[in-house]
Structures are given as C-alpha cells and as structure tokens.
Point group: C2
Amino acid sequence: MRLSELSEQSGVSTATIKYYLREGLLAPGQRVSATQAEYDESHVRRLRLVRALLQVGRLPVATAREVLSHADDESLGRTIRLGAALWSLPHGPDADPEATETAAATAEVDRLLDRLGWTTAREIGPLSPSHRSLVASLATLIRLGYPFRDDYLADHARLMHEAAARDLDMMETYPTQSEQVEMAVASAVLYEPVLTALRRLAQEEESARRYGL
Amino acid sequence: MRLSELSEQSGVSTATIKYYLREGLLAPGQRVSATQAEYDESHVRRLRLVRALLQVGRLPVATAREVLSHADDESLGRTIRLGAALWSLPHGPDADPEATETAAATAEVDRLLDRLGWTTAREIGPLSPSHRSLVASLATLIRLGYPFRDDYLADHARLMHEAAARDLDMMETYPTQSEQVEMAVASAVLYEPVLTALRRLAQEEESARRYGL
C-alpha cells in the first residue's frame, strides 16, 4: 500500500508517519519509484506499537527506538530478544547500593527465588531490571519499617507466575516470532494498567463480600 | 513520648514532624504543658504512612490529607472507609466519555463483571475510580487496535481476586480497624511496584523455561 493508505489504515497522519520514518521508529517501505514506496501489514502493526510506546507508555523517542531495535534483532535467541526489548522499557529507580536495607532486600529476593525454584531469575540476578525493581521496592518497605511476610510474597509470586504463563500462551497464538515480541512489548505497556485496575476492583469486591458495604 | 523521641523512633526530623502537624497530616499529641505534648505508637505508625504517601507515592500534601481523613473517618462502614481512602489515591486518567471506544470498553467491563459474578463492582460501576481505570485502559487497547480476549481478561481477573483475598487476609492480622485501613493504603502505594516487578520477573522465568536462554 502507499503512504496515504498506510495513514488511513493506521489512523496516523502522513506527517507523523514521515516523522517516525526519519526517527528510525518505522522501517522504510519498499521503494517502487523515486518518490514512492510500498508499505505492508508489518508497517501497520509497527505503527500501532509505536503509538502504544509513545502515547500510552510516554517513552522518549530514543528509548522507543532502543526497545524496537532489540525487538527486531533476529540474531538473538527468543528469551534474550524478548528480555532485551522489555529490559529497555523504563523501570522504577534502582535501590541505593550503599544503603543497608538494599543488602537485606537482596538477601530476601534471593531467598524468595530459591524457594520458588525460579532458577533463571536467580542466575541472571540484578542484571535484570525486574530483579532490581523488586529489590528496590522491598528495600523501600524495609526502610519505612513496613513488614512483609515470606509467605505473602511467595503466594503473590506464584499468582504472578500463573498470570505470566497465560501471557505467554496468548503471545504464542501469534504466528511469527516478530509479532510475538511486539505483542509482549505492547502488553507490558498496555496490560499492566489493566491488571492494576483489576486488582483494585477485586479488593473492593472482596471487601464488600467480607464486610458488607 | 516527647517530640524528640518520636523523631528518633520514626527517623523523621522534628522540623518535618512539625510541618506534618501544621499541614494536618499528623494528629496533635496529647498536650501535657504549654510547650510540650505527648505522642504514642499511633503517631509513629502515621508518620510511616505519611512518608509512604509523600515520598514513595509522591502524593501532593492536599491529596495525602484527603486520603488520611477518609482513613480516619470512623463514622463510615468498613468497606466504604477503605474504599474512600483508596479512591482518593491518584488513578490513571479517565476514558474520554465522548469516544466511541469508551462505550465499547464499558460494555466489555460490564460483561466481564457479570461473568465473574462481581456483583458489588457491577453495582457501584463507574463511581469507583478502579472501574473507570479499567474502562480507560481497555478503551486504549480498542483505540489502538489491540485485541483482548474475554477469557484472558477473566483469567487474570480471577488471579487478581485470589491476590486480593490474600491482601485482605494480611490486613486482618492487624488488630484495629484503623491499622487495617492504614495497611491497605500503604499496600496500594508500596506493594503495587512489588507485584509489577514480580510479574515481569515471572515472565522472564517462564520464557526461559519454555524457550531456553
């Protein structure tokens, strides 16, 4: 399809599409003449993802470009490719490495991962920003003096593991690895707010069931 | 205890404690002389919560005051008191009421709640900011053209309901209703980052199990 059709199908203006092309967020179309290029379904999909990253995730253009370049890197193994794309998404601040509570939180996370048998997460450790975020958020709890129980954490981790398995099941319904990685990135940006809202709604529902209104 | 001891026990400077007192974030101590007041454990607990709201949740002082005033309102029923405190926490933007995808997302949420049998959530509807956040995040998915399956949503909702039940179990281990509400508020601010990190870590673990590194 031509640029004008791509714009129509994606709902993104031609000026914005040209901007994304210049910024390297969208691969150039197949050139068919000196002034025209041909685009396909992969461009429609990519525009959808770019909008999700910029408009919903509010990523800076440079960060979005980095996420997409990892997602597009076919030389990487599947887990690494997925990981690299997700790891370049914004994460919360890391824990202060000097603080005493960081050491306590790290020990806590190690113990949790051992208990859960999450061997890869244990092995990769703080290389993963998700691991570092977990340490940082537990360190905050410790610093403020809020308790957390090992059982509570392990129960929630198991529920999140079930949710993650369903996320991957959903991802696997897409035919190509590129589409799967794209869906995983979109899902990290777009579905996390859905889950947060569902959790709060579930708390309200459960509270009404236990205590009435 | 005196102000200086309260400062020592809570790790909050006396200047900051005085500021919180002036801003109505902390109840005044029991006056024992013209220049001295006596504080107790409830002040230590409250300071911890105020720090969680301001420093971690990054709430403006006025919003924190509103959250705390609901949490302290003993005239309210338990679910309403909890709800009012949690509802005054910041939520994502609401969906555009004029947009066609908002109507589609609302219908989707209604169908989901019926299917789950979450009768209170269905009844309260968009009065709850959690309900509105769910509609808004689904409306974004629809607007960008991302699919979501009813089964996927229902599965995740059930997992979040299990998580919510454990949250309330944890809350119920605290002896007074005031402490329970305080813990619920702290947990909304402090534990959501923990769960997000756990979910991402679980995705990495599950991906490595399925596809290797």
